[in-house]
Every structure is written in C-alpha cells, then in structure tokens.
Subunit: 503 residues, 2 copies
C-alpha cells in the first residue's frame, strides 16, 4: 500500500497536476484557507507557484493578492515568500513571519489577530466572508477516498468544508504512519445546535482518523516531497532554566498544599525555549503520568512520553527539531498510542479547557505592575506575532502562568513596566507571572497587593527601584488607589525606549 | 405548610436566634461568604448586627473587619453599612456600592475584581484561602431539612459547602412560591474529575430544587422580614432607545444575511437602562420565542415572558422594580414554568456560554479606537464597579456587543478615546461596539480598519475630528502601523479630564 504513489484513489489520481497548473484555480483577491500550524503541515508547492504567478502578473501590470487564512504560523516558504511579492492582502488568525511582520507594521498588510479557538466558528457562520479555495497538505489518500491528514490539523476540517474548491498537496515526506494519530471531530455545529463535546481526559478520542472531503470539491492534487520547517532544538539557557525551576518549585508547593494533584493537571505550553525548559524540569523532577492538552507537540514532549513522565499528549500540530522528527518517525508505532492530533477548535476549545482544568503556560512581551499582560505588541504599536491560543487557555484554564525573562535587549527593556502598552490578558486572567528573578502568585490579590509582589518577585534588580518609585508616587498622587497610575508617566518607559533605545 | 414559621425543620427550629446572638459566630478577620447578587437575596439582618458588633468593639479599642465574599453586588444594607464602619478588609468578586467604591479608591479596602464564573472553583480549590462562615438568605426550610433558596442563587452552594459554619436567614418577604424555580447543580467537581454539563438549551434543568446543607454545619437560623433592594424602573431615555434601535437593526440585518436564526441566540444582557431598552425594542420588533441565558432577570424580561417574545429565561438572580416584583409574585405559577435560577458558576459557565452561542450585551466605560474596552476603571485608576460576568460572556459567546452612550458628564467625557486607560475586554474579544451614534461591526477587521469604523460610527460628532486627527498623526508617525499610537498623547485625554474637567 502506498508503494508508489500516495494517491491511491482513482478519481483523485485523475486530478494530479503540477502546482503551476493548480494555481490556475486561485485568482486575485481570493480568500484562501491553507493548512499549516507552527511550521507543520503547510502546503509546500502551491505557495511557490503562487509567487511565480504573482510575479508574472506583476510584469503584465496586474495585481495578485490573496487573503490568507491558516491554522497558525507557517514557514518562510509560505508566509515569507508570498509576503515578499506583496501577495498577501489580509492575514488571519496568526503569523510569526519576519516579512509579514514588517509589512503589517509598515501598514501594507492587514492582520486580524484572533483567538485560535474562534476561527472555525467565525468562518463557518459567515462573519469573515466567503472562503474561495482551500489548499491542504495531506499525508496520503486511500483508494476509497479516505484522506490521511499531515503533521498538523489546525483549521483544515473547516477550510475544506467552507471553501468552494479544494486543492490537496500530498507530501511523501510526511510519515505515512501518521495514519491513526488524528482525531477529526465531526460533531461540531453552529448554535443553537451544539451538543456537549465528550472529552473528559486528554486521551479521549471522539472523532475519525481521516479528513472527509467531498471528492467533487477537490479540483487538483499536487504531489510534493519536502520536509516541514523543523528548526534545531536549542538547549535551555541559564535564564530559561531558572524560570523553569521557579515554576517547578511552585508546582511542588501547590501539590504540598493540596491545591494540585500529584499528576498536576493537563498541561498547555507555548512553543519555545522556556516551555521546553519547563518540560525538561518536569522530567528531571520525577513526575509521572502527566498529561498534555495543548496546541503543539515539541521535542520535550516526545522525551517525556518515552520516559513515562507524560502518559498522553493531545495537540493540533507538531513542532519538532530534525532529530526529534527522526525519533518520531522511527518510533511512530509507540507514539501513535500516546499522541492525538485534533482540529484547533477542539484542541483550544473553551469547554474542554475549562473541564480539564488546564494549566496554561504562555510567554509574554511585557506585564505591568498590576498584572496586565501584553503578548503581542512591541511598544504598543508594532505586532510581534499574535495572541494565538494563549487567550483560549489563560481565560478558561484553572491556572494561567505567564513566563518571561525579566529583561530584553541586553537589559534595555524591562519586561515589567508601569503600564502595559497593550493588553491581551487582563488583570482578571493572569494568575501567575514568572521570570528568572522569581514567581508572583497573584491569585486572590487586589491590584496594589499584586504590584508589590510583581515588583518584588519578578522585576530585574536594575528596574526594581524605579518601579517601586513609580508605584509609590502613583499612590501618593491619590488620584485613585484601586489601580494607582500617573497618566503622563504611565507609558514613559516605552517612550524613552523609542527615543533613546532604552527604558 | 409554612403557615406560621418558614422554619419547619425541628432540628433547625432549635437554632433560631436573633441576629445579635448569631453574630457571635463571626470574628474579626473572618472570611465570610454571604448570599446576594444584584441586590437580590442578600442577608437582611446579620449585616446590621455586625455593624453593631463592630461599633461596640471599636469603643473598646478593638478592630472588627471581615473579608467579604458574595455572589455579586448586594445593597446599601449590606456592603454600604459594613463599609461605613470600616468593617470590610477585603471584598470579592464584585461590588457596586458607593461607600465601598470610595474606600477602594481611597485605598482602605482591598478589592479583588474577578470573573464571576471563576469564583466557586477558586474558593473550592483553596486558592483564595479559608472560608470561615457562610451567611445565606433562604425562603424557607421544610420539615425534612430541604432548603428553599431565595431570590438569587449566586455562590450560595459553594459558600455553604466551603464554610466551616453556616448561618441562615429565613426571610418571609421572599415568596414561598419561589420553590421549584431553582436548579442547583450538584455535578460540579474540581479537575481532573469534571464531566460535561448537560445543558443544551436555556430551558434545560440538570439539578435539584433545594439547597443541600449538612444540618450540623448550621449554627444559627435568623428569621427576617424585609424586601430586597428593588429600585424603580426608569423608562428608557432617548439615548438608550437609540442605542437599542441600532442593535435591533443589526439583529435584523444579521438574520437577513443568514448569520443569526430568527429566534436569535440565547441573550445575555447586563443590568440597566440600555439593556432594558434593548429588551423593549425586541418586544416591539415582533420577535417570538427568544431565550435568555443570563445573570439577572430584569423587568423587561418578565414582560417578554408574558408576551411570548421570550420563551424561557435562565439566570442566577432577579433585579426587579417594586411593580415588577408584585407582578412576579402575583403570577409566580406562570413564571415558574419559564424561569430557572442557577448558581453563578453555571449561569456564567464558559462551557455553556460557548455551547449555546450566547449573544452577550454589556455596558462599557470607554472603548479605544482599536476596540479595546474598559469596563471597570475611571481614568485608569478609580474602580467603578467591576468586570462581573461580562468577561465570561464576551469571551466565550458567539457575539460580544458592548453598549454605551457616546459621551458622559454632559459631553465632558468621550466614551471613545485614543487609548483605553484600562483594558477588561481586549481587541480579540470585542465584536461590536454601539452608541446612540451608530454601530461598529468589528468582526474580521484589522486594528486600523476598526479605528475607521469606530470613529465613524460610534464617536460623538464633537469628538470625531480630534479622534481622526489622533489616528492620522499616529499613522503618520510611522512608529508601527499595526496599532498606531502616539505614546505621549495616548492617555492625554484622560489627563486633560483630570486637570480641566473635560477631555
């Protein structure tokens, strides 16, 4: 099976064509839903063909720009190359590409930064306009038309349902043994027809292994052979390790107080150095039978599944280093029993996040002394990446932890500021802030109590006195003691950075 | 039945005492969970007795201050009188009392402003510390110990479960015919033991009619006879009516576009003049068989239930004018079939809010041109009331609408500002903003697109040019075109108000 081609379905075999031919279905100003989540499972050939098409049209004096919807971030080979030819008009719901970022911040690309759990219902209900074409990477197509998803699920189910036309990329560099790892849930509905989603533990399967696409919608099948964007795994540095240690200590304390079970609660963790350090800390800490209900499976989680630290990991995508990918492929029969890939409206679903009582661990750009968190904007105006799923997990989970080094740019920026220049997670949602300096447990504290703890535990020593000074003068101003601020100074640290290069 | 006393249970009859005797169970620095939600169902006698006790102790040079937890706001007879004797050390999760507000803003009372759906799980899990005593108003106690809840449920189930001791107030001015209207759900659990909550429509009942309290926990029963704080119902003014009309037009448009069913989706609506005007608009608009899944049942909803505009209303409390209360009591057999009172962790539960696809309609203090909403703070520092349930509904519902007159203080304050001085609802959560000037539909728009729509549709004409000017100069500064801001001007409108009395 799948000995020669990954396209075994006779009807779809007839639709095999080159990417250059397939892009004839894509027109200027089309809204296109592409697969891809955190660099996994994005289409590998169509974007390059679109770039060729856009360049050719440009030479004829014609524009070619699409509205691009995905699961989350993709890769330079998708977001990057399309942005370089000014090929993206509007982008949602998340990006982390340097070229996109530049265009958004220069004002040539519109970006709608959405909670990842909300995208599918918004697309479905028509709030976002019409979806013209879906371009989806898959791992293979059975003779009877059953479609094996690729290394991410993301919004693929929604895109193929909502789009007029579907183009499939069948990538033979995705392990064919991913088959059986996915859980595509077909019980979603728009209100008032919604029913409970019966996931009670991260291990519960409630859907199908295959992506169901009406064959008549599929207008092109493109065969590809290219790996996902897999970046090498950086070993945790000293600061990440210290942040992780602070979190691990906190977990131990909470278990001792009887406020967390010894297997903790299902973990959600953002992608990157610090989350990987936390995972590695949990492994060293002797934890067993933890579970993860998260967006992305990173290197650290594979280790933990192997060692038994983690018994199951539910996510919507992989984000692996080349070494970890080799490990996954070599041991895929083992991992298939312990990994479930779901669509992102289920991996991030408020209902499930609340029921499971998820421990949400996400990064931040800055937090203010009262516990408001900015996850998206540099100095209040320039987008970094986007909110992603952090809001889905932080609002509805049982514990929302935000993690950051206490400074950035070699100390020129303090992660703790008088007033956040943008707020993505409000004072009502932020339960714990942790830096390499320490951990601030904000539960049950009033704003002024929070300010003292955040400055004391989280701020870098070189910014502590100035933060305390701001706080004390804000209190002394007697303008309002619930959340004391000095209005004409609240954003002065950011202003100073913009003009002098340091806060 | 209940011919003489509302306390029919012989064991509890023996515990009947005066409020002055009962407060002997309450000590300085106790944490006390009291009933009460939006002026309904709060204890009527114990607070006054506490005030007496506090005054007496003060004369002896002793402090008497409690940490006060409730469902939401209560009444001057609870929050107000206790605050007046400096009797509240810490307050959560919501208040709207003038004396409390003053003390919070002067810094003598700590206030923890929480999402109302989160309180019970936080109390239960021990995150907020120990609960010493629960003081709960009820409508009656059957011979076998079954307890009939009063005009609000709020956090009562949690308080009686978590507190060491329980004091009951049995109020014979609450209709005894409330019996059967409540739905107290005993299936909640802490994670990892949570199961789906099987509410699929606002009409679904999943619990018990009675509050279950271990009799041995009840140390005192106080008989009272006093009405809830019921304020007269103000007829909608011109501005409220115009805001309501804008929303009703929007609903009609959405139905026409096929994006909302003709029965809409379950409505949540804040309390006050504007929500009442919206309800009245829906009634005039000829809607039938709407449903409400909300926190509070106001006058307007009783009318709607009678006329068939509304088929069912689920809430956690009443908030009625004296006239409406008479109507409720006179026709309670009719209303009991159509009204369900639930605990607030169910009325506001993220799982249910998402499943039902609630249309959330809440007020705001200010919104900025990019769609960030401040619901709680005056000029960034002074608390008004609190976030209440607005975050529960706005984040997880299918449509979050925020409503406000375009100006306050006779035009001295613009509700639309360059940058919100505090953020309770982020740009990711605010889908519609409406003033008497018009309605801004922000779905699928980038921040700059939102700015144009909000200024055009929502701002008052006298502030429009200045907002446009700020926006255009922020864009021209080229400091970042995703969310253009001028840092040293972003809060200058608030500063101006503080120094000159107008923006």
């Amino acid at each position: 099976m799948f000995s020669k081609s990954r396209v075994e379905c006779p009807i779809l075999r007839k639709k095999i064509m080159s990417a250059d031919e397939a892009v004839s279905f894509l027109q200027d100003r089309h809204t296109v839903g592409m697969s891809g989540f955190t660099g996994a499972g994005y289409p590998k050939s169509i974007p390059a063909a679109l770039v060729k098409k856009a360049k050719a049209l440009k030479e004829l004096g014609k524009e070619f720009r699409i509205n691009l919807w995905t699961g989350a971030s993709t890769a330079p080979e998708l977001d990057g190359v399309l942005a370089e030819v000014d090929g993206i008009n509007m982008r949602l719901p998340y990006q982390s590409d340097p070229v996109c970022r530049q265009q958004i911040n220069e004002g040539s690309m519109d970006y709608v930064d959405m909670h990842l759990s909300e995208v599918s219902q918004y697309a479905w209900s028509g709030f976002l306009g019409k979806l013209d074409v879906a371009v989806i990477e898959v791992a293979g197509i059975h003779a009877d038309g059953r479609i094996i998803p690729s290394s991410s699920v993301g919004n693929n189910k929604t895109w193929v349902e909502q789009a007029d036309l579907v183009i499939l990329e069948v990538n033979d560099q995705q392990s064919i043994k991913l088959e059986g790892m996915h859980d595509i849930y077909y019980g979603t509905a728009l209100p008032p027809h919604r029913k409970p989603i019966l996931i009670n533990t991260p291990a519960d399967r409630i859907g199908e292994q295959y992506l169901d696409i009406p064959l008549e919608k599929i207008v092109a099948v493109v065969e590809t052979s290219a790996p996902d964007r897999n970046s090498a795994f950086a070993l945790p540095d000293e600061i990440s390790t210290q942040i992780a240690d602070n979190i691990i200590d906190f977990f131990a304390h909470e278990i001792k107080q009887g406020r967390l079970p010894k297997e903790l609660l299902p973990l959600q963790s953002g992608v990157g150095n610090i989350p990987n350090a936390v995972l590695s800390g949990l492994e060293k800490g002797g934890y067993k039978n933890l579970t993860a209900y998260t967006e992305v499976i990173q290197d650290g989680m594979l280790h933990m599944l192997k060692s038994g630290t983690l018994s199951v990991a539910s996510a919507t995508a992989f984000s692996l280093s080349p070494t970890a990918l080799d490990d996954l492929n070599e041991n895929i029969d083992f991992y298939r029993e312990k990994i479930i890939l779901r669509q992102q409206d289920i991996s991030n679903h408020p209902e499930i996040v609340r029921r499971l009582g998820i421990i949400a661990m996400n990064g931040l750009i800055e937090a203010d002394i009262y516990g408001n968190v900015n996850s998206t904007h540099i100095m209040g105006s320039r987008i970094m990446n986007g909110i992603g799923g952090s809001g889905d997990f932080a609002r509805n989970g049982s514990l929302s932890i935000f993690m950051t080094p206490s400074t950035a740019k070699n100390g020129a920026i303090s992660a703790i500021v008088p007033m956040a220049s943008h707020v993505d997670h409000t004072e009502h949602d932020v339960k714990v802030i942790v830096t390499e300096q320490g951990l601030a447990d904000l539960r049950g504290l009033s704003p002024r109590q929070r300010a003292k703890v955040i400055i004391e535990k989280c701020a870098h020593p070189m910014y502590k006195d100035r933060l305390t000074d701001y706080y004390e003068r804000a209190c002394a101003s007697k303008r309002g003691m619930h959340t004391p601020h000095i209005l004409n100074e609240a954003l002065s640290w950011h202003e100073s950075y913009e003009t002098t290069g340091k806060m």
